[in-house]
């Protein structure tokens, strides 16, 4: 992924992010994408990005896909 920083609306959910990144990277629906926050935990798909940002200061998303 060339662009490493993205502006995202607060109310977008983690699932929304996953769907967007999958489309952007042209991943197939069956391929798995994992998102971790600050390399310490994987948030629930229905969590809002805005809430995560407020409690972690820096939302550093590391995505690995199989």
């Amino acid at each position: 992924m060339k662009t490493k920083k993205w502006a995202v609306e607060r109310t977008r959910t983690i699932q929304g992010l996953v769907d967007f990144i999958k489309k952007f990277l042209k991943l197939m629906a069956s391929e798995q994408l994992f998102i971790y926050v600050n390399q310490s935990f994987a948030p629930s798909p229905d969590q809002e990005v805005g809430t995560l940002y407020e409690v972690t200061f820096i939302l550093n998303i590391l995505s690995k896909y199989a």
Binding site: V37, S40, F41, D46, Q47, E54, V55, T56
Partner: protein, 246 residues
């Protein structure tokens, strides 16, 4: 923490008497009897309802069965919320037992996460523990634990073993003696009446002056509307009493 052991046990062993009924449109070979179960408040629906699933699948044909999901008065119940939370949010003002409807078809994709195995529940539970420790200890305590300790937390929850769970969890509830508390308090406030799923913000256990924050301080800070309503109700109660007595 040992002083609070009675409280910890009461929280752990909290139960909600529940009546599970099969959705009327599910196709059965014979009449499906309701199934009664005491649900642990601290656990998750999909973790504790194997018997419920077996009971209803006995009267259904294999081809009519896909992923189980639960609903209360038309609202799909999010299995990834603790059972006690679901009850308090949706049914706390109703008579017991709590009546839940069981479905095996038409999984509501927009409302619920899938739960294809116990591993999914374990992953969700551990993610919550890790997120909480990120707030309490910058993830230091959870990361220093071995994999077997993480497993013990999960097995304790899964098998309803208080001592097994707290042998590990007590480390997550400690803080260095030089600090007066955690870095931040991990909390979430759920309200039945709002659009947003929950309120979660950074909140320190100690005020700048050094005094300990109370629950009231937290509510005033992140959810002031909750305080105002309670104060208003109390005022009208007091006024009504005064009018009756004068």
């Amino acid at each position: 923490m040992t002083d609070d052991k009675d409280v910890l046990r009461d929280v752990w062993f909290g139960r909600i008497p529940t009546c599970f009924t099969l959705y009327q449109d599910e196709i059965t070979e014979r009449e499906a009897e309701p199934y009664y179960l005491l649900l642990p408040r601290i656990s998750y629906l999909t973790l504790v309802t194997d018997k419920v699933k077996k009971h209803f699948q006995k009267v259904m044909r294999q081809e009519e069965i896909s992923e189980i999901w639960f609903e209360y008065e038309g609202t799909p119940l999010k299995w990834h919320y603790p059972i006690g939370l679901l009850f308090d949010l949706h049914a706390s003002n109703t008579a017991l037992p709590w009546s839940i409807t069981v479905h095996f078809k038409n999984f509501p994709e927009k409302d619920l996460l899938h739960c294809h195995s116990k591993d999914v529940i374990e992953a969700h539970f551990m993610a919550c523990i890790k997120e909480a420790d990120a707030l309490k200890h910058k993830s230091q305590v959870i990361n220093e634990m071995q994999k077997k300790d993480h497993k013990q937390l999960w097995m304790g929850l899964q098998n309803d073993k208080f001592e097994q769970f707290w042998a590990i969890n007590r480390k997550l509830m400690e803080y260095p003696t030089e600090d007066s508390g955690f870095r931040y308090i991990p909390f979430r406030i759920y309200q039945a009446t709002t659009e947003r799923p929950f309120i979660q913000k950074l909140f320190r256990p100690i005020a700048s002056g050094g005094q300990l924050h109370t629950l009231g301080d937290l509510l005033k800070d992140v959810c002031p509307s909750a305080i105002t309503k309670v104060t208003e109700e109390k005022m009208s109660e007091l006024n009504a009493e005064n009018n009756m007595n004068s």
